[in-house]
């Protein structure tokens, strides 16, 4: 290419083209500098100053905000910058609640990692005293916020505002009193936080972490009077392997089933199955709204963060939300209702349903008033990885196993639920059949695929026997808000909108293994889902034989039946009045 330019990194001449920052050039060429506040999917911030480099032997610059210039000489590891980095680490650690051994993020903490790498064996500044520790927010089901571990890199603040447009977290105070807090120092549960967990996903330390339910699960497994049934969400299978040094996107579902059996779960089902169930119901609902003049556009309802967002911010538009429960929400009551029919020793009362989700908001969904008591415990991908490790299971060496029937078989439509656009694509495949009675011929709806930052709003038109059905897919609530604005202004030009709150969808969920340092990870995970879809025998939800069997044997024969409504649909409530907006 003609626009290739060069600069020098540690005396090595390297080429660069359209990199925006020196940091990118450094990382693209086999070098590295430490960072805390830099996150590729968030705006540049330049706060932590760990990525400083020496330019031309004279200037100290932060490489994350410095544009590359032809011919400059960069030192990433000079004595001067090493010294400054060490001092910065010492300064951060001096003001940090150093409880590393008992910290949720231990082993996964960037501050801990760099402190070890830089050999910080002494901190020359006075230690943060216990009396100065700030209160820990454990009031919500999803996240734990420990401000004394915060290094003020602002990643959570940016994630909340740039992904969700929500700014639940913000900076308060000045100088060394600066903190990140929800409004007026409240708990996350007292403001309109949707618990998407993206703040946790980008947090380099233990300041925001996932609320662990591991012990509760062990307790149930060890309780001989309980039958513990587990379900695994679509995007868990393409991410869990990362925790065991496997490639991002590698589908490990067979090994996950095996691991779950070894952990002691009694029955193993797949949330992909109930994703098919969701699609069957939702496509049916959509087809009815479309043909019988119901409220349009219809919004999908499988993302709990999105549902909470609608309830707190736009309760006037709740009628647009599909009444279908999420796949997690559907499978749990189905399990409790019908497993006793197929398995001996199981009763509605002795079953505990555990779900493994890529999502922190699912923990909140499980305790929603409307769904309480159905899903008993929600684990995130990260927590499952910890359980497997602590149980001494060598995940890599496991032989693949199968899920249990009757809720183990799934279609390709169910598996792509985990990526932004997947729900809409799956719904279209089935809705086409419901409206026309015929099967859609080309079922790869590529305009709805893609999980990178440039495809947060995707539109396509599906021709359903002459009717042009306009499908919109958005990921992040910030994007969703734009579509809602269109709707409120009467400009909305779509019939169905799929919303996933996390950028790129569940593959990049707040409960997944850390992926904020490399924006290609979520793409690899999505790829893993789409290639499974391609290779599956059944690729449309309504063709899944187990789904057909479930309807025939238990759910009144067809989607939308009375019993299906009772078990698989839910209601929403106006949470606006309880939100902070109303508090005077």
């Amino acid at each position: 290419m003609s626009d290739k330019k060069t600069l020098f990194i540690n005396n090595v001449e390297v080429e660069y083209t359209d990199e925006k920052t020196v940091l990118e050039v450094i990382r693209n060429n086999g070098f590295d500098v430490p960072t805390f506040c830099h996150r590729p999917d968030l705006t540049q911030f330049g706060a932590c100053r760990m990525c400083i480099i020496e330019q031309d032997g004279k200037y100290i610059q932060a490489s994350c905000t410095m544009p590359p210039r032809e011919g400059i000489r960069i030192e990433t590891n000079s004595e001067k910058v090493r010294k400054i980095r060490k001092t910065i680490l010492e300064l951060l650690l001096a003001n940090h609640k150093r409880e590393c051994l008992t910290c949720n993020k231990s082993g996964n903490c960037e501050l801990q990692k760099y402190a070890a790498e830089y050999g910080i064996d002494e901190i020359r500044f006075p230690k943060l005293e216990e009396k100065d520790y700030l209160p820990v927010d454990t009031m919500n089901p999803s996240l734990v916020r420990d401000p004394s571990k915060c290094i003020l890199c602002g990643a959570c603040v940016r994630a909340c505002s740039e992904f969700q447009g929500h700014s639940v977290l913000g900076f308060v105070n000045r100088g060394s009193n600066t903190r990140v807090e929800p409004m007026n120092g409240r708990c996350l549960s007292q403001v309109d936080c949707v618990f998407c967990g993206q703040c946790q996903a980008v947090c380099p330390t233990g300041a925001i972490s996932i609320k662990s339910d591991i012990d509760r699960v062990w307790e149930k497994i060890n309780d001989k009077t309980k039958k513990v049934v587990v379900q695994v969400a679509p995007s868990v299978r393409v991410a869990l392997g990362e925790e065991f040094n496997l490639e991002s996107g590698e589908n490990t579902i067979g090994r996950i089933y095996a691991a779950l059996r070894r952990l002691g779960f009694d029955l193993i089902f797949d949330t992909n199955f109930s994703a098919d169930l969701t699609i069957t119901e939702e496509a049916n609902e959509f087809a009815e709204r479309l043909t019988k003049g119901g409220v349009l556009p219809m919004f999908t309802s499988c993302c709990p963060a999105w549902v909470r967002y609608m309830e707190t911010q736009h309760p006037d538009l709740l009628k647009h939300l599909s009444s279908c429960k999420s796949p997690q929400g559907m499978l749990s009551p189905v399990v409790k209702e019908f497993v006793p029919k197929y398995y001996e020793g199981y009763t509605k009362e002795n079953i505990t349903v555990v779900s493994v989700m890529p999502c922190t908001a699912k923990k909140y969904e499980a305790i929603r008033e409307q769904l309480y008591g159905e899903t008993d415990i929600v684990l995130t991908t990260q927590e499952l990885a910890k359980m497997i490790k602590s149980a001494g299971i060598d995940f890599k060496k496991l032989k693949e196993e199968k899920a249990d029937s009757p809720f183990g078989q799934y279609s390709g439509a169910g598996t792509i639920f985990g990526a932004s656009g997947g729900v809409a694509e799956a719904a279209v495949r089935t809705a086409y059949y419901y409206v026309t009675g015929e099967e859609l011929s080309n079922i790869d709806i590529t305009p709805l695929r893609g999980v990178d930052a440039s495809s947060r709003t995707k539109d396509t038109i599906i021709d359903i026997k002459g009717k042009q059905v306009k499908v919109r897919v958005v990921s992040t609530l910030k994007e969703a808000e734009k579509s809602i604005k269109e709707l409120k202004e009467g400009k909305a030009d779509f019939h169905i909108m799929e919303v996933m709150a996390c950028p790129g969808g569940c593959v990049n969920g707040g409960g997944q293994p850390t992926s904020c340092l490399d924006s290609t990870i979520k793409e690899k995970r999505a790829q893993g889902l789409y290639s499974e879809d391609k290779n599956l025998e059944y690729r449309k939800s309504h063709t899944n034989p187990d789904i057909k069997k479930l309807y025939a044997e238990c759910l009144g024969g067809k989607p939308g039946s009375e019993i299906a409504h009772h078990l698989l649909h839910t209601t929403y409530m106006d949470r606006f009045s309880g939100s902070y907006k109303d508090i005077k």
């Binding site: 706060a47 994350c64 544009p67 001067k80 300064l91 000045r174 060394s176």
Partner: protein, 619 residues
Amino acid sequence: MEKVKLTIDIKQEQQKAQEMIKKQGRRILVCASTGCLANGALDLIAEFKRLGADADVLTNDVKMSVIPTGCIGFCEQGCLVVVPDRKLTYVHVKKEDVSEIYESLKNDTVVERLLYVDPALNKKIVNNEEMNFYAKQTRTAMKNCGIINPESIDEAIAAGAYSALSKVLEINDQEYVIKEIEDSGLRGRGGGGFATGKKWRSVYKHQGGKSYVICNGDEGDPGAFMDRSVMEDDPNKLLEGMAIAAFAVGADEGYIYVRAEYPLAVKRLKMAIKAAEERNLLGSNIMGSNFSFHIHIKEGAGAFVCGESSALIASIEGERGMPRPKNIHMAECGLFKRPTLLNNVETFANVPLIILNGAKWFASMGTETSKGTKTFALTGEVNNTGLIEVPMNTTLRQIVFDLGGGIRNGKKFKAVQIGGPSGGCLTEQHLDMPMDYDQLTKVGAMVGSGGLVVMNEDTCIVEVARFFMNFTQHESCGKCTPCREGTKQMLAILERIVKGQGKMEDLDMLEELGQVIKAGSLCGLGKSAPNPVLSTLKYFRDEYIAHIKDKKCPAGVCTALKRYEIEADKCKGCTKCARNCPVGAIEGTIKEPHKINQDKCIKCGACKENCPFKAIVTK
């Protein structure tokens, strides 16, 4: 460029205004700026009016008018009454003195007792021009301050306001304006000293769409009030300077970012904008030309860091005032992501005179690299504190000893803190150095916004460093690690030292942290935060060592290091000290010398204050 025929002839307007002023007869100027207002200037004005000197009721037989003006600069001596045609300045004027002044002006006599006494010559000054404080100044940016009524646009026009704008609009050539500013050598007066012309040109290059001009009036340095003076006392000069800049860079909208703590400045700026818009000197199609310029006032909430350009822009945009990385230049992507020109109040105030008098005139003042004049807020232990404006080649000695009238009470000069919390310390060895951007940077200080705090031998330099570090620590925005955490640790060390708990290693740590903060911080606030400590460590290391090793404060300021003792030969045993001691630390029997129990003493000084025999000393 073709010349433009304007619909407003500013010369005519000026003549009209001057004639109106002539009708006022003898002008009695009463400073009505913040300081003098607090001293009761409004009462003086009311009293003059009651006696008949009322500028609002102009009849043909008016002999005298009282004019409320902006700050004359001599705040130390307020309230000030100046009679320009008699070259008289009365200081410390009270309401009771007004009738006497009024009568004396009728009879052309002088009220001797209210004249200013030159502390050096110990002589009453009858003629203004003999006052060193004024005679040694060259006022350009503050030319009209204290001479005109800032609330009257007529007075400003009479003094030449908007003539430069008129000239620029007539010539109608952006290149000409930028060239003039470039040739004048004007540099940013807000602290950094970036070449103004160069800045203007880079914004000019990005013109085309919407551009903004912002005036930085967020003057936050402790002890600095130059910008406030310009905004309060001659707002039209600032507005004119901004309009000329806007014309030059192709902007049509401007913001003045003023601290909300400057309510008078906000009020007067708003008045001036309204009056100028009514006269078509601002607003749409100014003076009948194609050029439009609208100015808004944005009140800041008082964060020091909002004086930093990118934080200021964030604040105007409604975000938290936190500096942003400056990898994209503001000239290209500034306020609301549009090309933006941001200059300081004083920089803009210099523009009209450069346009009127030419670049050469301006460049003839100052030094090789620093042209023109600079305003300073002279405070601290000098005889004459106040606002001054001097050419940039003026030495520190001239400022402190000629204008400032030397150190108060005949004490010894010790140092000057220049540039507020971002600046550094200048000592005796720098007295003959000109106040030039580059020279000051070389010795680890900076012009900054121009605060000059003069310190005498009784000032503890470690305490001064602690004071400024405390200030920057509290005003740090908290964004970048070195500034937020580093200043906190530096402050903690300084606090230990002034308490006598310092260790010698602390000095190395201060220097190390200082270097890290300087090199690693995101914005100018952080990069300059260690300056006061580093420069005092350089010039007054002994004093730090005295605090650490000898546990003594040589200036006797640091409370924790003070030791109160009773000199037995002077003590008469009157027991007054013991009775006044709040903690019962003084023991002794009546008519016998008393003793202070050092373990109990809290060093409040009550005993010393109350001893009738001066028997208690601090060591």
